[in-house]
């Protein structure tokens, strides 16, 4: 057997029909890679249709994983290995191949019909795509899976379902990885149907052995375990991390967690994860619509729960009026918007950052809310926690922005300990103060009102959406009072800047170019900036998680650079927001709205161009 080639990072992309189990295959590969100590980062890229017509480009589902001997910031732009379970998958993903990459295909599907459905014009798709000289492993995956399982008491449908495991076995061989983790997984997952478990394991081993026997000349890679800080690790996905961050905040605050929500791609995973956690006392309510989702959460917040609602852009639009109510009632509430391509239904399964303005301003009246954004799958945990802390301690709605890329992506994560997280002290009032209870009296530090929970004797009071009296909270139409209330609601949100960390710079604190980004582009921006820094270029990165209010030192950072480029997956919403807040600086822009993340390569190229001008 040929010695595997030592590599620092490798990118594999699994692709097939949306029913081929590519997401599962990719996840299993990622888990094995992480368990043997690699840094990992993943990117599921799947179609909006659950089962688009078989064999068509529209139905191609992909899952990209990058693993390496270090912490991995992005799932990688281009792949070293592509698994294509049918011609459509090959055609849709050929553009992501590195020069000379390995391509594993199920040639059983590369018949006239398959090639035709994928839109190939000739019988030689490799030549047609100009990749004939690449390292093609044309394996009859379907027929060999059938052959392997011919003795198993399974029907044809269940036999064919195992072909993804055969493909996974090929990838394990090519990546010099062990099978044990996936074997354990199959035994657990199919513990009630041992034949199914055994069939999957047989297919997995057959794929591994097939490659070892027939493709000993193919390039195999070995990636050493990552040099990560010591500790206990796990893989975590963005939506899961968001859900867990909320549970953590509820636990720290000593408040029950309530999630009122309505399913919407790509946010549904948060609701699904929270629904599992009845063991931690989480109550979830799948409402009749987006509006009821947030309104049940507002009701729960009124009673003293830490209440959250989860959605994506179209749902955020439906929730606007209710967010205004929460602003007026000054109740703690977190609204997560897992952004996707818009407008309207847009690109439901694709990523974008185009809801920023909606989050900031999309309501009637002067209606400020705190807006924060998570940057990577695992830091969804920290920012969900922080969103909860700010909401409860400052008595305000908080919009937490994530996006389809980080929500569905996953990475290796050093497991935190709850003792290392700060306490959360919601301003709950347990009895009427001297002189009577004033529902809208504020503490001077945060300008937050108190939280008086129904069921507490002596604190009976009324709140609502009509303008409130400055102290009593009763309805008031007094002109001067309205001015005062509008001002103080704005000041309350602004005051949050005293409680958030200062903005940081990665790299030198002054120089030629400052790259500015926010939210889920962090990994790509960081990789691009680090690559240029390694070449000695004067480039730094300042990546924002706190959007409203902005960190107090923002202008000081900007003032130290000759040029600033704001990079985001929209037409320039954050850039315009910065122009509004800090008009004294010039902002260059780097924007993309293809429903796909930036590539590191395109970013680096853009930055080089700016530097050379």
């Amino acid at each position: 057997m040929k010695q595997p080639i030592e590599r620092d990072t490798v990118v594999i992309r699994f692709s097939g029909d949306s029913g081929d189990g590519m997401q599962m295959t990719g996840t299993l590969f990622t888990d094995t890679s992480a368990m043997i100590g690699n840094g990992v980062s993943t990117f599921p890229d799947y179609p909006a249709e659950i089962r688009a017509p078989q064999g068509t480009i529209a139905g191609v589902s992909g899952f990209q994983v990058r693993f390496g001997d270090r912490k991995i910031n992005t799932p990688g732009d281009y792949c070293d290995t592509l698994v294509a379970m049918n011609p459509a998958a090959l055609k849709a993903n050929a553009k992501w191949l590195k020069k000379g990459a390995t391509v594993v295909c199920d040639v059983d599907t590369f018949n006239d019909r398959g090639l035709d459905r994928a839109g190939f014009k000739t019988a030689d798709p490799f030549a047609e795509l100009d990749i004939a000289d690449y390292n093609i492993i044309a394996a009859p995956i379907t027929s060999m899976t059938k052959e392997t399982l011919k003795e198993m008491p399974l029907d044809n449908k269940n036999v064919v379902k195992c072909k993804n495991m055969f493909a996974l076995g090929i990838c394990y061989y090519l990546s010099d990885m062990p099978l044990d983790h996936t074997i354990d997984y199959c035994r657990k997952k199919f513990n009630k149907t041992p034949d199914q478990a055994e069939a999957n394991i047989m297919a997995l081993r057959a794929g591994f052995n097939y490659t070892s026997n027939t493709h000993a000349t193919a390039n195999t890679y070995h990636v050493a375990p990552a040099k990560l800080p010591p500790g206990r690790y796990r893989t975590i996905g963005g939506n899961e991390a968001t859900a867990w961050g909320f549970i953590a905040a509820a636990e720290k605050a000593g408040r029950p967690l309530f999630c009122g929500s309505y399913p919407i791609t790509p946010a549904t995973g948060i609701l699904e994860e929270l629904a599992k956690r009845k063991d931690l006392g989480v109550k979830t309510l799948q409402a009749e619509d987006e509006i009821a989702g947030i309104c049940t959460a507002i009701g729960a917040a009124y009673t003293g729960s830490f209440a959250v609602t989860t959605t994506s852009g179209p749902g955020l639009a439906l929730k606007s009026e209710a967010i205004g109510l929460a602003v007026m009632a000054e109740l703690p509430l977190v609204i997560v918007d897992v952004q996707r391509g818009g407008p309207s239904t847009g690109l439901p399964t694709k990523t974008e950052q185009s809801d920023l303005m909606q989050a900031l301003w999309g309501r009637n009246g002067e209606c400020p809310v705190v807006v924060i954004a998570a940057g990577t799958p695992s830091d969804c945990f920290d920012y969900a926690f922080t969103a909860g802390k700010i909401a409860m301690e400052h008595m305000t709605p908080v919009v937490l922005l994530t996006d389809g890329f980080i929500a569905n992506g996953s990475e290796a994560w050093k497991i935190p300990a709850m003792k290392d997280y700060p306490p959360i002290h919601p301003p709950i009032l347990s009895s009427a103060p001297e002189g009577g209870y004033l529902p809208y009296k504020r503490d001077e530090e945060r300008l937050a009102r108190t939280w008086a929970l129904p069921g507490t004797p002596g604190l009976e009071h009324r709140i609502g959406g009509l303008e409130k009296d400055f102290l009593k909270g009763s309805a008031s139409h007094d002109p001067a009072n309205h001015q005062k209330m509008v001002d103080i609601r704005a000041a309350k949100v602004k005051r949050v800047e005293e409680f958030i960390p200062e903005q940081t710079v990665i790299g030198a604190s002054e120089g030629d170019l400052l790259v500015v980004g926010w939210g889920g582009t962090r990994g790509h921006l960081l990789s691009a900036v680090e690559a240029l820094q390694a070449e000695g270029k004067s480039v730094s990165l300042s990546h924002f998680n706190y959007i409203n209010p902005l960190p107090k030192n923002t202008a000081r950072i900007f003032g130290k650079f000759k040029k600033i480029v704001v990079c985001e997956l929209n037409l320039g919403q954050f850039a315009n927001y910065l122009r509004m807040n800090f008009p004294e600086f010039d902002y260059l822009q780097c924007n993309k709205v293809e429903g796909q993340p930036f590539t590191v390569a395109e970013l680096a190229e853009k930055f080089e161009k700016i530097l050379s001008k």
């Binding site: 549970i247 309530f258 009821a292 497991i415």
Partner: protein
């Protein structure tokens, strides 16, 4: 069991009531303030347990006039907010005050789903068949052909019958009252509070400004006894000044008979069974219209069933009982994890 001894005054907020003089809402407010002391005696509810949630509309001003916890929210959404309140804290006695526009037009979706889930809310539905606060447009309960500001030539749409909607959404409780009969309203509210589940009390209420006397053909004292029937579970369905008339089956429908006349006897008169899950007779009762039949008042349907809030709580308690994950740290370390040893680091 505690003795509470509340009086209606204990539930009156220190705020001027600003509904129009002669508005039916005043009477409903009185009925609620009379009902709560009785509910506290019956169910041992402390004062701070009552929470009133409303949406938008004249009736939705209600919470401001109650010395209880109250939340005046946004148009149509009171049902959803009340749902969140009850699920998050099932110990509260949650009352939703709403109108025909708020509950059945903009809030129609939330309304039917709350009823379907059988969440333990007491929903007081003020039905005046008009939009009052926006000054006189037709509502989803306005009669076909009704002339209003937005239907100057008469409406061209069929109205909802709230009771029919409740039954259609598999509701477990429906009662109907009239604003001018405070004791009947109070009795319906007490029954609603006692019932575990979504209790809808429709109150035929008069808008003195924009739809005056819309219900007066049945609610006026001089012919109320003849044109309405107050139903009581287990009792014969009798009405009339001297209870001389009764309801009997007429093929697949209902008819009015007079026992002792035309060969009818008291045995022919139906006995009201509010507790039967079969909604057949209940559906006929909620749809009775004057002049063909008397309008049914009182508790028409009251069927015991599990509630959403109980089921949520039960599931949480059950799963928590045998849980391996008890803290956030447990969850963080649950499932597949691996150790990176210090030796492997630089």
């Amino acid at each position: 069991m505690n003795i509470h001894n509340f009086t209606p005054a204990d539930f009156k907020a220190d705020l001027e009531v600003k509904w129009c003089p002669g508005c039916g809402d005043h009477a409903v407010l009185n009925a609620v303030q009379k009902a709560l002391p009785e509910i506290s005696e019956t169910l041992d509810y402390a004062h701070e347990r009552y929470t009133f949630i409303s949406g938008i509309g004249c009736s939705s001003r209600f919470p401001y006039y109650m010395n209880t916890y109250g939340f005046h929210s946004i148009h149509g959404r009171a049902t959803a907010i009340a749902t969140g309140v009850k699920v998050a804290n099932p110990g509260l006695s949650v009352w939703q005050v709403t109108g025909d526009g708020d509950a059945l037009a903009i809030g129609g979706n939330h309304f039917i789903h709350a009823v379907r889930r059988n969440i333990d809310l007491n929903i007081l539905l003020f039905n005046n068949e008009i939009y009052g606060l926006t000054k006189g447009q037709y509502s989803p309960t306005s009669k076909l052909g009704k002339i209003t500001k937005t239907s100057p030539f008469g409406t061209v749409e069929h109205p909802f019958a709230p009771g029919e909607l409740v039954l259609g959404a598999r509701g477990t409780f429906f009662a109907r009252a009239i604003d001018v009969d405070i004791n009947l309203s109070k009795d319906c509210m007490v029954a609603a509070a006692i019932h575990d589940g979504a209790s809808v009390v429709e109150i035929l209420q008069n808008c003195v400004i924009f739809n005056d006397k819309t219900h007066s053909s049945i609610t006026d004292r001089e012919f109320r006894d003849e044109r309405t029937i107050v139903l009581k579970h287990g009792e014969k369905m009798l009405f009339g000044r001297n209870k001389e008339k009764g309801l009997a089956m007429n093929g697949l429908g209902l008819k009015v008979i007079e026992p002792g006349k035309d060969g009818c006897t008291i045995d022919d008169v139906l006995t009201h069974d509010a507790h039967t899950p079969n909604a057949g007779v209940h559906m006929m009762l909620v749809n009775m219209r004057y002049p063909e039949l008397p309008v049914a008042l009182g508790v028409i349907r009251q069927v015991p069933d599990s509630t959403y809030n109980q089921n949520v709580q039960r599931q949480v308690d059950q799963i928590r009982g045998g849980a391996r994950i008890r803290t956030m740290d447990d969850l963080l370390n649950y499932g597949e994890t691996w150790e990176v040893a210090p030796a492997a680091t630089e």
